[in-house]
């Protein structure tokens, strides 16, 4: 019933009721940090983080008021993605995840002061896609502020992304 909730009705078609995406490629928005939500929306709307799906919706969010919508999604408790994980992949990912915790923290919950988002419980397909986009410099291409994460992804073989994704999806 909050103003953000009625403005955000269009989002549930992809991101699920209350931002609780049930599908593998659509990220969960429930529990998303407001600062990160705002950054993502601004990057999409400006065409900086290219996404044909999100650019029009990001402009809609700015039209209706990004702060209210951010507050609405931040206020929803995150239930981890229901997408089934391969236990062996989770273990392989765990073994490789130390290189992520410097920035995302041991818990994977991110760090607002460094501009690093929460990875935990996201659908594995979404996490893997984003790693591939970083590697190919197709997420926010040319953005110097996130150079380090892209440089890291270039050192990781493509096959390992599914393992890392499975691991971070499994973390609670």
């Amino acid at each position: 019933d909050a103003p953000g909730a009625t403005s955000a009705l269009a989002c549930s078609a992809c991101h699920g009721l209350g931002g609780q995406s049930p599908s593998n490629t659509m990220p969960i928005l429930a529990g998303i940090a407001p600062w990160y939500f705002k950054k993502a929306i601004q990057d999409y709307a400006a065409g900086k983080r290219p996404s044909p799906e999100m650019e029009p919706y990001a402009k809609m969010v700015l039209q209706f008021g990004v702060d209210e919508i951010a507050a609405y999604f931040a206020g929803q408790a995150r239930t981890p993605s229901p997408v089934k994980l391969d236990a062996a992949a989770v273990e392989r990912g765990r073994a490789a995840a130390a290189q992520c915790t410097v920035c995302h923290g041991a818990s994977g919950k991110g760090d607002a002061s460094k501009g690093v988002p929460d990875l935990t419980g996201q659908p594995p397909g979404y996490l893997r896609n984003q790693m591939l986009l970083f590697k190919a410099d197709r997420r926010s291409p040319g953005d110097d502020t996130i150079k380090a994460v892209k440089a890291l992804m270039k050192t990781i073989p493509d096959e390992q992304f599914a393992d890392l994704a499975a691991y971070w999806s499994s973390v609670r």
């Binding site: 403005s7 549930s12 659509m26 044909p52 799906e53 402009k59 896609n129």
Partner: protein, 393 residues
Amino acid sequence: APTVSDFAQKPGRRVVVIGGGWGGATAAKYVRLADPSIEVVLLEPNKEFVSCPFSNLVLSGVRSIASISFGYGGLRAYGVRVLHQMATAIEPDAKRVKVGDGYIQYDRLIVSPGVEFQWEQVEGLAAAQDRVLHAWKAGPQTVALAKQLQSMADGGVFVLTIPPAAYRCPPGPYERACQVAWYLQTHKPKSKLIVLDANPNVISKTGLFRAAWTKYPNLEYRGSNKVVKVDPSVREVATELGDKVKYDVVNLIPPQRAGTIAVTADLVGADKRWCEVDHQTYESVKQKNIHVIGDSTTGLPVPKSGNIANAMGKICAVAVTRMLNDKPVPPMAPGNTCYSWVSDREAIAVVNSYKIDGGKVVQIEQKLTPGQSEAWAQNAVGWANSIWQDILG
């Protein structure tokens, strides 16, 4: 299972929804979410919801009909009372809907009956409905058309005919052309697909479909070819210009109008085809306390899509609960994303966002995918899984 007589008493406030498709099922669920003190009765003759989106993939054998069919159990869990019957009449003054021999009272009515075909617009069609298939409502016809395609001899001609706009799902026929062409190329390489389009050119995602078709030399597209006659005895269709085209299998998509109940209840405009509604509440401009959503509406400036019907269902549900609680209705706008599969593994998409300006729905932006890819197809799967759950579960 409930019967009409179970609804003879109306103890509290009640919303009745006609049609458990993309718009109606969503609206029923979201009224319950917005205010669980309101009773919701959903009228839908079919026991299963079969998704039109992704049904073109059943024709090409890429997906099974079972994978796009769902029950109404999820809605019942939200407290929606589902009655598997047709509404046969609406009495706006008495605020009641006729179902079988009985009546169901409502405080507000939401009507989402989808489209009906204008059989009379194509000579010979009404009498040939069992052989000349539309497959434009997913279900038995989808399966039957897939069988016709599979049993066609290699070297055969498949004719797909497209009605003039406005019809359900502007890109749908062109996606279907891709799926049939892909199937023929893969399984019956000597066969051919002829597309007869009443419109002068591809009306949606034009450049993207045209680019996809360069990979299908077996697809012949003819614009401005409106089909006005079909004769199954000689397997032939005729166009307005008098051209005759022979087929081995035909898929004739007839011209369309709002669902019949919307016409008989006088919800349609002067064109006798589509219903005009308020852009913020979806209340009919012709009948008070009756709201119309989905394909039956004039379409504001939005396409007749499942995604739009779902968005209208949510907005209408919030509006109806606010109105029943004497509260103001906040501005809410729909959004639309239409993915189209151009092969067994690649897709394209068009995305539109909207705002409310001066009480009207106005487009903010339309965006197309820069090309076709497997990644968009994976997003299409993600969209489908999310939106099916948004509607039914």
